[in-house]
Symmetry: C2
């Protein structure tokens, strides 16, 4: 039984893992090696190193544990055809991402960019308008595990939360939940619009110019899902025309964001380099999810935590 990691956890995380599973042959590489992949029954990967051909070569592979939430770069059809089980670390992102999102919202409301700028000039200056988050309304597009955690924290700040998802079924920590198709009705009510949507055929360019037209002029739009939710040219136009007050982006249609992207020149946009889920505690947490799943696997159970349907995309 070989478990193959295509990244290297820190020594202090590796040792307890090996000790807990003496019956398992662990192999750690900092980069995928085909020979090792051919032997592996279980692959632990960030999900960016697999191709269709590699999946064909991985004759012993039964389970892929993806230490990441996004799986767009995985050869979904080949994996499904080979009947390989896939699970990921969905829950792992919810706390760091929620903290990043709240950091950005509160920074804008409470003048942090202004504070930093004045400090860099050595100037004591109070001349800016500070506002407040409490009493706002937030629209969360795609309130899954992360979106619901955002809702929980926003509610603690006395924010009214509206969720829009594909089923329209009540999502946790949403004061209201509606169908994604009815989103346009709720855009005019929201002070903050946060998208956590994955990239699927359905979500591509789902938000158009007409949607931004419906938002408040004072609205903050945050995209922490996937970059193709909005056509970049549309977004640039929206921000240049100041249809809304501010956008905070962590994801882009092309990543890294090209150096000549007009987004760099938009003063009312915050550009985060798709790392809002990063954390010094990331691998530690991934292993906290992997270890009980491996325990179950060794006991013959196959209904693992965060089991995914790759063809559906989440």
């Amino acid at each position: 039984m070989m478990v193959y990691f295509t990244f290297e956890p820190r020594e202090d995380l590796k040792a307890p893992l090996i000790a807990q599973f003496p019956q398992v042959d662990f192999k750690f590489d900092s980069k995928l090696d085909v020979a090792n992949l051919r032997e592996a029954q279980i692959l632990v990967t960030y999900g960016e190193d697999l191709t269709e051909q590699l999946v064909d070569e991985a004759q012993n592979l039964e389970w892929i544990f993806v230490a990441s939430a996004g799986v767009e770069k995985m050869p979904a059809a080949a994996i499904a055809k080979s009947d390989i089980l896939v699970s990921n670390v969905r829950g792992i992102h919810k706390k760091p991402m929620t903290e990043s999102i709240l950091a950005h919202i509160l920074a804008l409301k409470r003048g942090l960019p202004f504070i930093y700028e004045q400090q860099s000039k050595g100037q004591w200056n109070k001349k800016t308008t500070l506002s407040e988050l409490n009493g706002s309304t937030a629209l969360i597009i795609g309130p899954g595990a992360i979106g619901s955690e955002i809702g929980r924290i926003l509610q603690a700040f006395d924010v009214y939360t509206i969720g829009c998802n594909r089923s329209g079924e009540a999502a946790p920590y949403m004061d209201e939940t509606h169908l994604l198709g009815d989103m346009a009705q709720y855009l005019p009510k929201a002070d903050i619009i946060i998208s956590m949507l994955p990239s699927t055929k359905y979500t591509k360019h789902l938000l158009g110019y007409e949607h931004f037209k419906l938002m408040k002029e004072s609205a903050i739009f945050m995209n922490f899902g996937r970059g193709d939710l909005v056509d970049t040219n549309v977004l640039v136009q929206v921000m240049k025309e100041q249809l809304i007050a501010h956008a905070v982006l962590d994801v882009y249609e092309i990543e890294p964001l090209p150096a000549n992207s007009p987004l760099w020149a938009c003063e009312n946009v915050t550009l985060s380099p798709h790392f809002s889920s990063h954390s010094s505690r990331y691998v530690e947490r991934g292993l906290e999810i992997f270890k009980p799943s491996l325990e179950q696997w060794l006991n013959g159970e196959r209904n693992l935590e965060n089991k995914m349907n790759l063809l559906r995309g989440y």
Copy 2:
């Protein structure tokens, strides 16, 4: 019955106030005028325009409503001698200040200064360490109305909260509360130390070099109470020696912070110009506290909300 404001609320806030109290003669000035003060029974002020002599002149004055939390600049002894009731807007600050404090904490944990800096250079750069707030321990020195609100939000972020106050009695939203005198015991446990203490004889230079020595090297120290809690020279030394990771200051021994203060040169210090309670909704909220109090006053009640003991200082 004359109510004298030494500041001018916006028209849309003034009109309903006048309409609600037809029996009251309201007078609004943008600056204190002695002739008006002499006539006033009730004074509404930011608390920075009174002197001992003016209090002596204010022969009709029975109640001072201070639209601010700090009262250090008020002639406490003269006011007490004249038996003038004083109340303030204590609750008004708790939400904006808590939001400012969380903004600063989350910004540091989630790399916002780094994001802003890279963006200003037009660089896509993920090379920084992001950490998380959840799982931390916070020590709140002076968990009053504001400190408890901070505790409430920190607990929502899964932070363990320890309060230190003068009585040692349990404060709301603190997992533990201890005597201020025992603070040294809890400093080594805290990832974040937040002071909300007022300026009194007891709190002046209460935190010394030896206290910072007890803190974790990774600790964040935040002073949002009053600047004389720490001798500025001590604080500069502490930050230069990097005894702790970061300090966020909203208050200073001398305000505005002098242009030649060595604090400006400390890279591990965030300098906020004593405005963390500011809000575009400030006067509106102040009037929300003042109006029911005035209603009570007119009915002969004197036990008003946020009644203060000026000689005690809070």
